[in-house]
């Protein structure tokens, strides 16, 4: 049935959105850790 494509679309969309969010978390985490390192260095 043609509608199975919609099933794939829904599941892929779900994982895409979750993936984007995880990506955002990872990127912000590394940026903050870098900032923290820089601050510690200049503070010392």
């Amino acid at each position: 049935m043609n509608s199975t494509e919609f099933l794939y679309a829904a599941y892929i969309a779900t994982w895409l959105i979750h993936g984007l969010y995880i990506g955002m978390l990872v990127r912000r985490n590394s940026r903050l850790r870098q900032q923290m390192k820089d601050l510690n260095k200049s503070g010392k």
């Binding site: 099933l7 969309a13 959105i17």
Partner: protein, 227 residues
């Protein structure tokens, strides 16, 4: 405590894979809709999770207004953000499901419409948090969360009555559910709840780190250290 997070993440991944398997292969085929109905196993748990997260936000906001505990504020922010993620999924999977089954992308289905309004309220909440330059943003955000919570029952009633005047299709169907389907639904709900927990935990730690960095930055500028 530090080791618990990776363990939780791995357990969640396993649960999600298992839940996916159950949804696609084990759950029985729905009589009228066919395979497309399996979207249900992602659509409904995401909705429950989003509503739960928004409820957490409401509680945390009230606690913050009463106690001014900064951790409560961090919880409020985190639960709002993760809630919007899951809410977005509900709004995306809903129309994708509706289109092949009922021939329309959207309808003033009461649950979907209430979800849309909740999404709008919480996106505006996140925008306020990002755009506000007051030092008291957490208080303002908490007040907005309360306004949002007061609004939801009114939204529900207005759509409910609107639908009695203008009959519309019901997305997602009502009525009783096959126990085997219920089983798969609950497994997916467990898996997505764990995912929400993983997200929230990670985001919470991120938020604490962010506040640490901001504090360190302002301390340094106070001491006059060249940046």
């Amino acid at each position: 405590m530090k080791r618990a997070f990776p363990i939780l993440a791995v357990v969640t991944a396993i649960l999600l894979a298992y839940a996916f398997y159950e949804a696609i292969w084990v759950a029985p085929m729905e009589r009228t809709m066919g395979d497309v109905q399996r979207i249900f196993y992602y659509h409904v748990p995401s909705a429950w999770t989003a509503f739960l997260l928004f409820f957490v936000n409401l509680v945390a906001s009230v606690i913050y207004l009463v106690r001014r505990n900064p951790r409560a504020d961090a919880v409020a922010l985190v639960s709002a953000e993760v809630g919007v993620v899951f809410c977005t999924i509900v709004l995306v999977t809903g129309p994708i499901w509706a289109r092949p089954v009922w021939g329309i992308w959207w309808t003033w289905d009461i649950r979907l419409t209430t979800t849309l309004v909740l999404w709008l309220i919480y996106v505006s909440y996140l925008v306020l948090r990002r755009f506000s330059e007051s030092s008291q943003t957490p208080k303002l955000a908490a007040v907005l969360a309360i306004f949002g919570a007061l609004d939801v029952p009114l939204v529900y009633f207005s759509i409910w009555f609107f639908r009695t005047q203008h009959p519309q299709p019901v997305i997602g169907g009502g009525g009783s559910i096959d126990p085997r389907m219920l089983h798969v639904l609950l497994i997916n709900w467990l898996a997505f709840s764990c995912l929400a927990l993983v997200f929230s935990w990670a985001r919470y730690r991120l938020e604490l780190l962010q506040r640490e960095v901001e504090e360190a930055e302002s301390l340094q500028s106070l001491r006059g250290v060249p940046q």
